[in-house]
Subunit: 163 residues, 2 copies
Amino acid sequence: MLKLTKKADYGLMAMKHLAEHADHGSCSAKDVAEAYGIPQEALAKILQRLAKVGLVRSQHGMNGGYTLTRDPKTISAFEVIKAIDGPLFITSCITLRGECDQSDRCTIREPLRKVNESIEQVLKNIKISQMKEEPEVIRVHNQDRNQADKPGTRKPADLVTIS
Amino acid sequence: MLKLTKKADYGLMAMKHLAEHADHGSCSAKDVAEAYGIPQEALAKILQRLAKVGLVRSQHGMNGGYTLTRDPKTISAFEVIKAIDGPLFITSCITLRGECDQSDRCTIREPLRKVNESIEQVLKNIKISQMKEEPEVIRVHNQDRNQADKPGTRKPADLVTIS
DNA sequence: GAGAATGCCGACCTTTATAGTCGGACAAAA
DNA sequence: TTTTGTCCGACTATAAAGGTCGGCATTCTC
């Protein structure tokens, strides 16, 4: 539950790979697939979607392949995931129209919407470039506002503060 | 993607309902189901799982039903979700054994694990009691409703800071 | 220009997880 | 003891995800 789809997973791996090999020209889907043991056709389809939204550029023909269109520092995990799996909603209550399937008697919608936003934010703060290297680099700042006001409880989510 | 299952949704609604009606004795699955338009048997199964992990107590026979076993202030959304949908892993890379299905060539595992932890934290910080009432209690800072509805004004992060 | 390597696209199949249903077991009340 | 309302666990459809296949277009190499 609350799982990222494998497609999104693959997509992130591919983006990371492209980021690492940006200087060696383009990488074919086959290259990437073999590098990580991903089924080639599956990955091709994913890269196509990334190409469609402009995150990568595709090059036909021999020695073709894919290259990033932007600096990996400016590409967030959220963008990649959204491109592949569509908009992110934690629950079916939260739709594009903001409506709840289950009558409006559902009162947990609002709290969950906040959670949803939080998760989005976490993903937005992680950039592809930060995935290249391991732990040290990723530092999402703790959005701290007066958060020390509740005693005891909250030492919470310094979201993704890896340091 | 990254969706909470409907079961988890239902479970949260039910918990909230029980929390609200704690003083009126126990609520039957039927009561709750009718209150929110949820299929009765589906909800029953969910309540069973919550009973199994001890979040609610079940009472057979006439005038039976379910009651919370703990103060709703001490029950987090995370507990409920975990009880229903099992352990929460954002990606298949992150398993109980900490292994990656895809060979160990996968290098995005570590960053995603952090994201996973962040999400867990967010959910752990939301308590059932805080879902009872609407916005006032769950207070995400810097979040004005009117502003939230305006398309275009993208509000900053503010991860569910409950105070 | 022919052929090979590569990306592109759509349709299909398999597997898995989700949503929902059914009949029975249990406990309390009449 | 019978009745009634409830919980319980196995079962079945439906949908979604993951992966596969074949045909076509484009570009490079020879």
